[in-house]
Amino acid sequence: MNPAERATDLGDLTDPGKFTAPLAIGGASPALLLEQLRMMLRIRRVEEKIGDMVSAGKIACPCHLGIGQEAIAVGVSENLRATDRVFGGHRSHAHFLALGGEVYPLLAEILGRQDGCSHGMGGSMHLYDAAHGFAGSVPIVAGTVPLAAGAALAAKKDGKGGVAVAYFGDGAAEEGGVHEAMNLAAVWKLPLLFVCENNLFASHLHISLRQPSDSIGRYAEAHRIPVEVVDGNDVVAVAEATRKQVENMRLGGGPAFLEAVTYRWRGHVGPREDNDVGVNRGGDLVLWKGRDPVRRLVDALMAAALLDDAAYLRMVDAERLAVESAWARAEAAPFPPATALLDRVYAEGCRP
């Protein structure tokens, strides 16, 4: 299908030929912009490494890569505190890293090692990092969205201005649990930020073959939850939209919904690019790569003389070396003991 022939309520946001210029960085802090770039480079390098290692047969665990979507997690996370609770899904490496999660425990987890962020019990699809506010990710589509509503309820009961975040995709919006959770969050005024990473695909299937509209925010409107729709490949736009939403939630304003329109460069699972159906993805993918969230920020920083080629290459190289070092360490890390199989089914005790 030609992109121009698709019915769209999101308009230009789903047109890969648009939004390719350098980002409008306006008055954003240079230090913050460089930090956003560094984090996006880290996420991309980690995921490229994971993809390479899947191809090389060194990773067996299913890995869902979000290359091309890095700006969303980075833009959202800079507005969060370590005491907030963030829940993810099957494609959550970026959510984990953007909150400050370290590369080594992520790679160790994917390799099933004791040092992993879930002590080697979860793999790529079950990440956990309480110290940075990452409350957990699971691959059951929409599975954590009701849990995030509960975390938001807990935050509301705590009364300290905490928020919860539920990351999910456009496919999850086809699950009833998301709608139930939106209703709950709206009627109970929960401090819950719904972040829909609308990458137009659920597994292999394009949204036009699954829903009558490409807009996911329309569901939030039906639940009277305020919606912001942004270019998900614009870290500045994502960060700014989230900042306003989270500030309002911390003051008791109730839930908010962020729809970030993006595109994943790889297939649903694994490193390949070509396992999708429903559109001529090959052509679209080439166009979407022109809307690269990293490239657009680099171009903007260079145009503003905040970055030059040498500094950029140093950043890329530093992340590459850090990832290689973490990978080597993870490969050498021990596996969980056999006792972990039964020891972790139940907690130790009950409280008097």
């Binding site: 609770r85 829940f87 409350a135 059951i140 599975g143 009701p146 849990l147 509960g150 807990a154 009950c350």
Partner: protein, 326 residues
């Protein structure tokens, strides 16, 4: 000692929890209504406020998931499902999320959530208002499944369930609500130290039940005594994790076992108990017997209900057959 019935004992458990544990709150449909959950929660909303006793939208999945989520953030929520049948909408939150959370994250977090499901059958309510699905939940590693049969357990196992760090399915049965007993003040015992109990000692046959079927076993044992058969009654109380050692020891003495279960036969609780005893190398004096529901949905017609549910007379007859054969 305070005289209570089973329903008011559940309420007393809630009162104890809400009085002493500020992290406890209760969520579910019908909690502000007068009739949804019998006398087991009467006026708790008026005493503890509607922020701790939360009547909810008709969203079993989101509400149960929210209870699981809140339990990962320092709270001890109790999610109440007035009928087990409707609880099937929230199986993802229970089976995929709560049951596996601790394991999946390497033991770093535990969903300290209690999910109360009420078995509410009979009265011509039919196939979707009558199910006893405890065996389903007991199949899932990571869940603790609690079935109080006595008035004391209705209160005390609720307290132990809520104060347990694991996800607990607490299943009470409306057919037990009128049972009465004198209860001492609450004395806490951690759930993981609780297990099956011998409610009546006897040497000739071992009767095993859980929840309402335990009451049937007790009634049958009384009737059997009049017929010269000395029956031991074991109440399983907690069916996951299942500790069968008391049953195995009892059958080693009696050589006869009759398991009564309010669930279905195939892949059910009764078969599991018999298998555990058989695996232990027991010497049988008579073939073990299980009395379960027939493998059919619950009927609506009262005439069929009388055939469907196991009466105590069926237990008496089954036990007498064991003796006529031996």
């Amino acid at each position: 000692m305070t005289r209570m019935n089973y329903g008011s004992a559940i309420r007393a458990g809630f009162v104890h929890l809400l009085d002493h544990h500020p992290e406890v709150f209760v969520l579910g449909q019908g909690l502000w209504a007068k009739w949804y959950v019998g006398n087991s929660m009467t006026d708790l909303d008026k005493i503890y406020g509607t922020e701790r006793i939360m009547d909810s939208p008709v969203s079993e999945l989101a509400c149960t998931g929210a209870a699981v989520g809140a339990s990962l953030c320092g709270y001890r929520p109790v999610m109440v499902h007035p009928r087990l049948d409707f609880m099937l909408y929230c199986l993802d939150a229970i089976v995929n999320q709560a049951a596996k959370w601790s394991h999946m994250v390497g033991g770093q977090a535990h969903p300290a959530v209690t999910i109360r499901g009420i078995i509410n059958r009979g009265g011509e309510q039919g196939a979707q208002h009558s199910q006893a699905l405890h065996a389903w939940f007991a199949h899932i590693p990571g869940l603790r499944v609690v079935m109080p049969a006595t008035v004391a357990d209705a209160r005390d196992l609720l307290i132990a369930s809520v104060l347990c760090d694991d996800p607990v399915i607490y299943i009470d049965d409306r057919w037990l609500y009128e049972q009465e007993a004198d209860l001492p003040p609450v004395s806490f015992c951690p759930l993981e130290l609780e297990g099956p109990k011998i409610l009546r000692t006897g040497k000739d046959v071992t009767l095993v039940g859980a929840g309402f079927s335990t009451l049937l076993c007790q009634r049958a044992a009384t009737a059997l005594e009049a017929r010269g058969i000395d029956a031991e009654v074991i109440d399983l109380r907690i069916i996951n994790p299942l500790d069968a050692s008391l049953v195995i020891q009892s059958v080693a003495r009696s050589g006869r076992l009759c398991v009564v279960d309010g669930g279905w036969r195939n892949c059910g609780l009764a078969g599991e108990v018999i298998a555990r005893v058989a695996e232990a190398g027991t010497t049988w004096r008579a073939a073990p017997v299980r009395l379960t529901l027939p493998d059919a949905p619950a009927p609506s017609s009262g005439a069929l209900e009388r055939v469907y549910y196991t009466p105590e007379s069926a237990i008496i007859a089954a036990v007498e057959r064991m003796f006529s054969k031996s």
